[in-house]
């Protein structure tokens, strides 16, 4: 394998990987405050892309993206308030089924709102064939937008969770809900807020990746499964680990192309997930002792 080919695979892997990581971070935010895995997370990504594409004819690109993110956040809030907020102590099984149902409904609604055709945002910089030369390999500038967006989100989230009052309240919910309530934190609002935040992050991911991957009504499901794989691979709830796991999975997928038929690529990702679940359910980077306190 030449250096050029190696770098080409590497960047392909980082591109997939960053996308998976952003979706996984969305999962983690909600999981951390609620203990729920939101199976509709992929739909936020799809909605972000779709809405921004629809808005593009009437406003400039940055504004369209901002509006799409805001609208998707609103949608996230609505989902939480309408379907989850008022449930008392729902079991995991019930929550899994409800979020799967929400994912199906969102997808089918998108089909009837936007029809089945495929759309994409224009490239933020340059066009479809412009590339940046990295050590002989050619990489689309949009890839750097994806990687940059992923990095920014992680940085933003770590500042948010460490440095702001709301962020600390959300972490308190994650650590011990009863104690958080006793400290006067409105846990219900924190849950709504976590949905808003992860919807916004998903939507932004949907916009940034749209020029590369295109957007269609049924994009979300596949992304959600990959994102979930990554979230578990890194250890549920740990966003920095999710980024590492996302990049790892992306790179494994990219390099697997050189030895295995492409058709089995997805099966590989899922097989890795199953193996991780069986041998290290707390994830590659999770701590086993901490995991002993959780339920798997």
């Amino acid at each position: 394998m030449t250096l050029e080919l190696f770098i080409q695979y590497f960047f392909a892997g980082i591109t997939y990987g960053s996308i998976y990581a952003i979706v996984a971070i969305g999962f983690n935010i909600i999981y951390n405050t609620t203990g729920i895995i939101n199976f509709a997370q992929g739909e936020f990504v799809m909605l972000g892309g779709m809405i921004s594409i629809s808005l593009l004819p009437i406003m400039p690109l940055p504004l369209a993206i901002a509006a799409a993110v805001a609208l998707t956040m609103l949608y996230g809030a609505l989902l939480e308030i309408c379907f989850i907020r008022w449930l008392d102590n729902p079991g995991v099984l019930r929550m899994v089924i409800i979020t799967i149902g929400l994912s199906i409904l969102t997808r089918e609604a998108a089909l009837h709102v936007w029809d089945e055709s495929i759309r994409s945002l224009p490239y933020f910089v340059g066009n479809e064939i412009s590339t940046v030369n990295v050590l002989g390999a050619r990489v689309s500038p949009q890839v750097f937008w994806v990687i940059g967006a992923c990095g920014l989100m992680v940085a933003f989230l770590s500042i948010f969770f460490q440095g702001t009052s709301v962020g600390r309240q959300m972490r308190a919910c994650a650590a011990n809900r009863k104690a958080a309530v006793l400290c006067g934190i409105n846990t219900r609002d924190m849950v709504t807020f976590s949905f808003v935040l992860s919807a916004g992050i998903g939507a932004l991911a949907g916009c940034v990746m749209s020029p590369i991957t295109s957007t269609a009504y049924d994009n979300g499901t596949g992304l959600a499964i990959k994102g979930f794989t990554v979230a578990i691979l890194g250890g549920l709830g740990n966003s920095a680990a999710a980024v590492a796991a996302g990049l790892l999975l992306g790179i494994i997928e990219a390099f697997s192309v050189s030895v295995l038929p492409l058709a089995f690529q997805d099966a590989i990702a899922i097989a890795i997930l199953l193996i991780i679940l069986f041998v290290r359910p707390h994830g590659l980077f999770g701590s086993g002792t901490a995991a002993g306190l959780k339920e798997f």
Partner: protein, 381 residues
């Protein structure tokens, strides 16, 4: 016990809702993948035949009878297609069925239509649907082998002999890949790389890099009907790989060109003439029909007409022609379809026979290329 009583009520209700037979209408069934993974086929197909049926009915019907169109959305799954086929044949007693949209579904229901002696006009491309010929089964899309031959002929002109093949993991990609592999040796073409990708693939730069690393590859053929077509084009050009890119007739949708942007420039692919309708000479037999379909469809649905909708269009006009020529029931309609000669459709000029239930030939494809973001006929440089 309560459960049993409920079941009884539900069943009784559904039995009571048995449809009444209406006089002076002609029931035509359609099984199309309006939703699901093949929605990009079934969507335009169902919109097209709804539009056509309205048109016929407003003009007073056919032979004085109104068309009653019954469209069933199979979601692209064979088991539903089978259930709907039985329903349409037996319960609705339709005179003919248009669809299904995909090859898998068409093959699944083929036997049923033979057994019940009801004509089926499939909108799927695979050759096995009409080869071996089954008495009551027809198809309107051009065969993949025509597309493959046209591509290889163009390659021969360009002096290309070693190629890489990429295909999507849909029925369309599968059938194309098989034809490419079967026909290549007979036309002096060697396939040196072959890969299949997922229909939901997001990025194919890794596999493009792999193929680019093989210095033997003189051209790439990509065979799919999914957005990955645009992604292949983008990834190839991004990688600075400028060998000719051939696509299948699945590329015949301007949305893919829009999605690939400048990367689509110079892509060569075979397509029905719908895409270049306005650039055809005025005396071309398909010209009038194609421009009318395009104008009607685009006016009504505010989206570009695609060749997929065209397949349903052809199925519908073939059926109407057969009825006009005296077809009144399943058997006579079948016989009349077989007699149709020189009927212009969107895919080409249909001439059926007892051994040819597709009715098209190599001429039904035109080599098309992308220039300045639009489809133009390909001319040898």
């Amino acid at each position: 016990m309560k459960a049993c009583r409920m079941m009884m009520v539900v069943l009784a209700l559904s039995l009571a809702a048995a449809p009444a037979v209406m006089a002076e209408t002609l029931k035509v069934g359609a099984i199309l993948a309006v939703t699901g993974p093949a929605a990009f086929l079934g969507g335009p197909e169902s919109r097209t035949i709804e539009m056509l049926a309205d048109e016929v009915n407003q003009a007073g019907g056919i032979n004085g009878k109104q068309i009653e169109l019954i469209i069933k959305d199979s979601g692209g799954s064979p088991e539903k297609a089978i259930s709907f086929a039985k329903q349409l044949i037996e319960e609705e007693q339709v005179v003919a069925v248009i669809g299904p949209s995909t090859s898998g579904e068409s093959m699944a229901v083929k036997k049923l239509f033979e057994e019940s002696r009801t004509p089926l006009l499939s909108c799927a491309a695979a050759e096995v649907i009409v080869n071996p010929v089954a008495g009551f089964v027809f198809k309107t899309p051009q065969s993949d082998s025509f597309a493959v031959r046209r591509i290889f002929m163009t390659m021969q002109e360009m002096g290309i002999s070693r190629i890489a093949v990429l295909a999507g993991n849909t029925g369309f990609g599968k059938a194309g890949k098989e034809q490419l592999q079967a026909i290549a040796p007979t036309m002096g073409i060697e396939i040196v790389e072959a890969e299949v990708y997922d229909k939901d693939a997001n990025d194919l730069s890794a596999v493009v890099a792999k193929m680019k690393a093989n210095p033997d590859v003189q051209a790439v053929v990509n065979w799919s009907i999914v957005p990955a077509q645009a992604i292949v084009a983008k990834n190839m050009r991004q990688a600075g790989w400028d060998v000719p890119l051939f696509q299948s007739h699945g590329f015949g949708n301007i949305k893919y060109v829009e999605s690939a942007g400048v990367a689509a420039e110079g892509i060569i692919f075979p397509a029905g003439r719908l895409l270049v309708a306005d650039k055809l000479p005025a005396d071309h037999p398909q010209k009038q029909l194609l421009t009318k379909y395009k104008a009607d469809y685009e006016g009504k649905f505010q989206e570009q007409a695609s060749t997929f909708g065209g397949h349903a269009y052809d199925a519908f006009i073939i059926l109407m022609k057969a009825i006009e020529n005296g077809g009144t029931d399943q058997q006579s309609i079948r016989d009349e379809i077989e007699k149709i000669q020189g009927l212009p459709g969107t895919a080409g000029i249909f001439s059926f026979s007892a051994t040819d239930h597709n009715g098209l030939d190599l001429e039904s494809f035109e080599m098309v290329t992308v220039k300045n973001g639009a489809f133009v006929p390909y001319e040898k440089q």
